[in-house]
Symmetry: C2
Subunit: 458 residues, 2 copies
Amino acid sequence: YKTLREWVAVESDSSNVLKRPDLHRMMEMAAQKLRLMGGTVELVDIGEQELPDGQTLALPKVVTAQFGNDSSKHTVCVYGHVDVQPAKLEDGWATDPYNLTDINGNLYGRGASDNKAPVLAWIHAVEAYQALNMLPVNVKFVIEGMEETGSNGLDAMILAQRDTFFSDVDYIIISDCSWLSRRPALTYGTRGNCYFFAEVEGPKQDLHSGVYGGTVIEPMTDLIGILDTLISPSGKILIPGIREAVAPLSDEEWKMYQDIQFDIDSYKNKIGVSQLMYNNKVDLLAHMWRYPTVSIHGIEGAFSDPGTKTVIPAKVTAKFSIRQVPNMDPAMVKKQVTDYLHSVFAKRKSPNTLKVTMVIGAKPWLADTQHPLYEAGKAAVKRVFGMDPDLIREGGTIPIARTFQDVIEKSIIMMPIGGFDDGLHSQNEKMSRYNYIEGTKLFIAYLNEVSLIKKTTV
Amino acid sequence: YKTLREWVAVESDSSNVLKRPDLHRMMEMAAQKLRLMGGTVELVDIGEQELPDGQTLALPKVVTAQFGNDSSKHTVCVYGHVDVQPAKLEDGWATDPYNLTDINGNLYGRGASDNKAPVLAWIHAVEAYQALNMLPVNVKFVIEGMEETGSNGLDAMILAQRDTFFSDVDYIIISDCSWLSRRPALTYGTRGNCYFFAEVEGPKQDLHSGVYGGTVIEPMTDLIGILDTLISPSGKILIPGIREAVAPLSDEEWKMYQDIQFDIDSYKNKIGVSQLMYNNKVDLLAHMWRYPTVSIHGIEGAFSDPGTKTVIPAKVTAKFSIRQVPNMDPAMVKKQVTDYLHSVFAKRKSPNTLKVTMVIGAKPWLADTQHPLYEAGKAAVKRVFGMDPDLIREGGTIPIARTFQDVIEKSIIMMPIGGFDDGLHSQNEKMSRYNYIEGTKLFIAYLNEVSLIKKTTV
């Protein structure tokens, strides 16, 4: 686990502009690892990002690599990312999030499961075949560093290299997701995500709540007021047009969800709640995978430290996101949310100003589970784990799946190796040694199964 | 300003337990300053405070000092505090908040106006009389370090020393407030404050909003929902019983407010808003001084950093406070708020848990403006500034005024020297050199005026 430990030690948080040097270093480390294996490696410059204040910042380069170029073989392209979500010890981690710690067979650290260990498992799979000098397919890698904030710049890079790097790619493989239970799974769909900032600005600076309270229309009160109109206590999205756009649940889907292994009690237990939004399996799976939802993540600019502060914050910015499913369209959602919040805000007759921005707009993705790529996946799971995989969807977002589908027009499979309890994006994220090792074996078996797909079925 | 610079340099933030060593050092510095002037100084141990997690922490000692003990003279007791509100450069300060910076005659720094410079102005006033060897009254000091978080431990100390240190005190003087305009002012009332934590707890740890969103009843949604029921867009407090307890505005008060110098446009301009909650002077002054208000300060535990994070926070704690006026009672308010929030929360039928705690409960205070102490104040203002003072109230809270009134049963005057635009509790707090120097002269003149009060009128 030496390489994984080195990778986790890098605080490659793509959402924090101050950590950008660490992120650049992380990309260089990934490239160097692939170079030492003898791959044809490039660090692709994808330009700059514009920050909300108008400044620009260099994006982390994208790592591409190629192993083998035998045109008689299939070429798979493994996508992964090595950036991570924010994590601080004081958020409630039991161990330093950037010091990989092995406790009872689990490897704890930010990015362990999302997505550094899966990337390394693919690398180890290639190394295993290299040792035997018998790689059954050509393997390419695309490793990015902006996944956690919306894969800024990657779409353009894929488009630009569609007829070069990607021209001979037959299949795309993504392992940036998790199993649903202890049973291995193949993933055939993901939700997209539209992430919004709603900023309410009033006084020119923070005010003493004793001295000014009662005379000022407080931005925080306005913001709370409009946030409270997004979703009902029973989980109903109140923004007009959102629910109307969602494809109805088909009888086939209902039947399929019924058959999936999913234990409500252990799910409740894992989360630590006494009651969920729905109390039957089908409703839960459907609302996890194929219905939209609103989450309010927090408020920037208000008082968020421990203790007390008697302040009227002058400018407060709520962060919330809406998960996207077929047939929602992010451009439409942006308009629906913006119009709705402005209309709700206007009713308050507040002199403060509201600014709504959509900072991430990622589409959902859906694949055909009868495709040979999935049949090969089922065979590989059967070989390594001795059982059939669950066919599942992912509530989270892998925006790039949609881009690969639209731009490269090649088939995609998502093959998770992370456990259902890995704690992605939360405290004490981990990857178990079992999943890491068996996952590497699965990837080895899968490359062999893919090599057996008839060339014509692409 | 050397001493003021040294005092401001100490981050004596009483709300941050990690800054407690700085706060202890600040109290020692104040004591040492008074010792060097020849005062009889004590550092009074006032015990420990209990933290929300059950741990205990030593409170900053209270500094008492005495100059002169001639029983033929009046004895005044000056109260002040040397703790401060939190401040960070990144909150939007133009200068380091802990490095006193002189720009165009203004001294910028956290605590400059609230309350370190006023305390030092009193000290300089005593030094001026000491230089002439003619202190006209005995002067005592009580300087505490917990004012910004509710003067924890001070009430008990005053009660304990009622018949010793405070037994010969005739008048209490407090300068922990500000003028209302460019005209000097005497303050005859303050609002109290009840500060609440409302904590909603759900999952046992933060969750990925993509993976879990839609299945979990999110604590943040619940919290936003109950916060939105505290106050209406037009500033009406919605908690039953609060408005009913407030003393009605008398015709006399209405007349008095009409006569006060208060320019609505310059007030709006100072705050930087186009519209206030009310558009006439009397309503504004009344809602600043003698009506309650609710301010929502922020949320702890949610995502509050720049950037994006797709998290469902597991435990979120809102901080809000309600300003107290006659005839509200903090114990009653605590019950009203707690009952109301629990009833609102119950209607949501959420499996999450709500905990409401009142962490500060400070009563309002009101004085008689015809008392000789105020007549002396008017004379001193007339002598130094050549005009009559405005008689004003303070929207903020100086809880100790109420304690002095209830326990020592001596008359109290509040004599501000801070400017109306000093930015207490907000970014770029300052004390102007003019107010600091003329304020010191005012205190010198006032001590003389007090010495002329007939002994029998106490």
